[in-house]
Point group: C2
Chain length 207, copies 2
DNA sequence: GTCTATAGGTTGATAGAC
DNA sequence: GTCTATCAACCTATAGAC
């Protein structure tokens, strides 16, 4: 056959990615996935051992290329990248065309505090977080380390929120928000976040 | 009895709030809840009709006072509140001492895109969102409506993220983030978000 | 109001034919 | 590699005694 066959394993990953992103991990059964993929129920346990392993595979397939892209863009910005370059390197790979179908899934991962998924999160994201935290601290020399750490979480929250809710943002904003325009979304995010990061360190009364 | 008896209904709401916040709605069974509350399984269906109704009750018990507090603080700031006053009115009621045990739950609600919870979200939050959106638009007269709508979502994301992950932020930040200090957290959020809101409108290439 | 007991359905996972 | 058939465990919800 010249035509490339779409294998059962790939069909399962695609279906699981779609349904996990739509309804979450707990609410998606293996039967939902095999029905969507139009394969047999037993195929899940043949190609993957368990539902947990399937979840891990679904996540890793998308997150690994994203993280490689992030590091690559950050490296390409040279030894002393600007704050905007750092933010773009972090955001752009996740808003790329090819990744778009997996965006709800990634949002799910980022907003799920369960222990299992937290482990997966740390497995795939801890190194990248460290790298970008260091880059931002270097770009903003006056900012205390606690403030950098907090603002990284504010950034992660803004990003994951617009990802998770991308399907319903238009309705919730009376049509004002159009997440399909990914370039505009990234530009708005960079504008908002870079201003937030450049704010003077918070003056705390107690200290 | 002079001592106030903690009724089964309240024990159920407390236990459900704790477990829903820790593990999510789908992953928490009624058995988990009745075990935690040390009441019988059938009590759930006696005091509430169904799991969905229980979820609704758990959410409403916390979100209604929060929203009343938000409107109250915004009203107290007068007819032309500053951006900082608006942000504080939105954030303070959810970071108050009495509400703190329910914070993971509220984070769960905000990060859950399922249709049922989305309906609950709109039921409890749409009016407040409109009110605060208008206030921010008034405080930042030059900012286009789309930009205001987007930045409201960025704010909601930052807030919900630190709520959802409040249990694990210290570990993820190497001890730098201490969410227990709620006053400091609110001050840092207001600093970051007000700078973001005050950023000039994003210049889009396509327009 | 609180319990026991159980109905009725769904789940993840596996055994074994082909 | 793919199927059918099925198990054991779990779930929500209810019936009915007390």
């Amino acid at each position: 056959m010249i035509e490339e066959q779409v294998h059962t394993k790939t069909r399962l990953l695609d279906a699981a990615e779609k349904l996990f992103g739509q309804n979450g991990f707990d609410a998606t059964s293996l039967r939902d996935i095999t029905t969507e993929a139009q394969v047999n129920l037993a195929a899940v346990n043949y190609h993957f051992q368990s539902k947990d392993s399937l979840i891990d595979a679904v996540i890793g397939r998308r997150l690994e290329p994203v993280n490689r892209g992030r590091i690559q863009m950050l490296d390409a910005a040279g030894p002393s990248p600007t704050l905007e370059q750092i933010l773009q390197a972090f955001l752009a790979p996740i808003l790329e065309q090819e990744i778009w179908p997996a965006v709800p899934l990634i949002g799910r991962v980022l907003s799920n505090p369960d222990q299992f998924l937290e482990r997966v999160f740390k497995k795939h994201l801890a190194a990248v977080a460290k790298r970008f935290g260091d880059a931002i601290a270097q770009a903003l020399p006056g900012l205390p380390a606690e403030e950098v750490a907090w603002r990284l979480h504010f950034m992660a929250g803004s990003m994951s929120h617009v990802l998770v809710r991308s399907q319903v943002l238009p309705a919730m904003s009376g049509g004002l928000c159009q997440p399909q325009d990914r370039e505009a979304l990234m530009a708005r995010l960079v504008t908002f976040l870079s201003a937030g990061f450049r704010a003077p360190a918070t003056r705390l009364e107690g200290n």
